[in-house]
């Protein structure tokens, strides 16, 4: 118990970084995933194939490999994030969003976007074809059909798989610890390393699990609320 009390600031900063990592990569992945699905269901064959290839390649690559790529390999070929130097100072310590954080964010966005694309595509497939036909019949071009009619309905249908994807992302942020991003899993590792005794180690682990359960529950609660609100409109 003392370990947790002594380190609450360190743990707090770790989870703040986790939440930031999740929010930024979540928004990025939703945007990129939407772009991918637009290409994937669009009328241009080259774009369709490019998006399909992207999804196949990225979805089949272990996340750790992608993050290690941006951490170790990418700088050697001139891709680095040294220009990112955001440090948020709080009473409990600094949240460091620097090159490691930025690289991990990019990796998480690229990885999660492939899942977002597939979730949304399942939603697009659930929208009756007549909806798109009616939208085309009033003269909307492809982009207008997608943004006004198909995607809003696809989003409603894809909400459960999208929520799962975002929950997976939240938990996947812990992989960033292995490329030295100072987030919650990294904080846990540090605390465990300097804690003697097996029983004492259980406390920080328990807290870590509890906070993750709460964060995931918040996400499923939000998704459930949205589902209920949108049901009326269907």
């Amino acid at each position: 118990m003392d370990v947790v009390v002594d380190n609450y600031q360190f743990i707090g900063i770790g989870f703040a970084a986790t939440v930031l990592l999740f929010l930024i990569s979540g928004i990025g992945a939703l945007l990129l995933g939407t772009l991918l699905v637009a290409m994937r269901v669009g009328p241009i064959a080259v774009m369709r194939r490019a998006a399909a290839t992207y999804v196949t390649l990225v979805r089949n690559t272990p996340l750790l490999l992608i993050l290690v790529f941006f951490s170790l390999a990418a700088p050697k070929i001139g891709i680095n994030f040294q220009f990112v130097k955001i440090v948020i100072s709080t009473g409990w310590g600094d949240i460091r969003m620097t090159n490691a954080f930025a690289g991990a964010t990019v990796g998480l966005i690229l990885y999660t976007a492939s899942f977002v694309c597939e979730s949304l595509r399942s939603g697009v497939n659930a929208v009756p074809v007549g909806q798109a036909e009616a939208a085309r019949a009033i003269g909307l071009p492809f982009g207008g059909v997608l943004s006004n009619v198909v995607l809003p309905q696809a989003l409603r249908a894809a909400l459960p798989p999208l929520a799962s994807t975002l929950i997976a992302l939240l938990k996947n942020t812990t992989v960033a610890a292995s490329v030295l991003v100072l987030e919650s899993a990294y904080a846990l590792k540090q605390i465990l390393d300097k804690t003697p005794g097996t029983v004492e180690k259980l406390w920080p682990i328990g807290v870590f699990i509890l906070v993750f359960v709460i964060l995931v529950e918040l996400l499923s609660f939000a998704s459930g609320r949205l589902e209920r609100r949108w049901r009326v409109a269907r």
């Binding site: 009328p43 007549g130 909806q131 036909e133 009616a134 019949a137 009033i138 003269g139 909307l140 269907r234």
Partner: protein
Amino acid sequence: MQETTDAPLVRLSGVQKWYGELHVLRDIDLSIARGEVVVVIGPSGAGKSTLCRAINRLETIDEGEISIDGQPLPQEGKALARLRADVGMVFQSFNLFAHKTVLENVTLGPTKVRKQSKADAQARAKELLDRVGVGHQAAKYPAQLSGGQQQRVAIARALAMEPKVMLFDEPTSALDPEMIKEVLDVMVDLAERGMTMVVVTHEMGFARTAANRVVFMADGAVVEEADPETFFTNPQSDRAKDFLGKILKH
């Protein structure tokens, strides 16, 4: 029968379409004059719906040419979208946008395609919804309406684009008998106001009252065309006699 002197509004010439081996449209030549109401009838699988959907290129064709108001149908893209805006379409399954209210269904096209102001589009939408008798349902979602009401909203949605021609693809086939009349009344009113209409239907009553011409299709081809009186009382082809014999018996 080419009864008009001015250029036809819709013209199909030598239109052919195959689904693999199946020849669904066989060498269709058809001209529709401004203000004319053409009813397309025939047994199921005759290609009536395919023909109707080909006119705004929801179905592509393999050979031949379709033009609207002198303009050949463009390939996919902005030009096709522009042309579709001038062609109203009413579907068998209504296809109202499920996530939008009745009012939003009617204003979407005018605001996004015609770039009308929201206020203008809403005022016009309310007028049209009143005209088809569902003005008081404007704030509801499609799922909250009966089939007949949904189809009338769909007609208002198409009319809001001020189309040159309206296509009806079996507009009453998914409706309960008592709702068919309310939709047909709206269509008869539209015909009387001079709208150019192509109507695929099994409603022989509508064909008799509102049509200028009946086009009878079977096996992908236009077998016979005549004014409704002539067609129903004195069909020429065996195929048409057989068809009318079956449907008019009951």
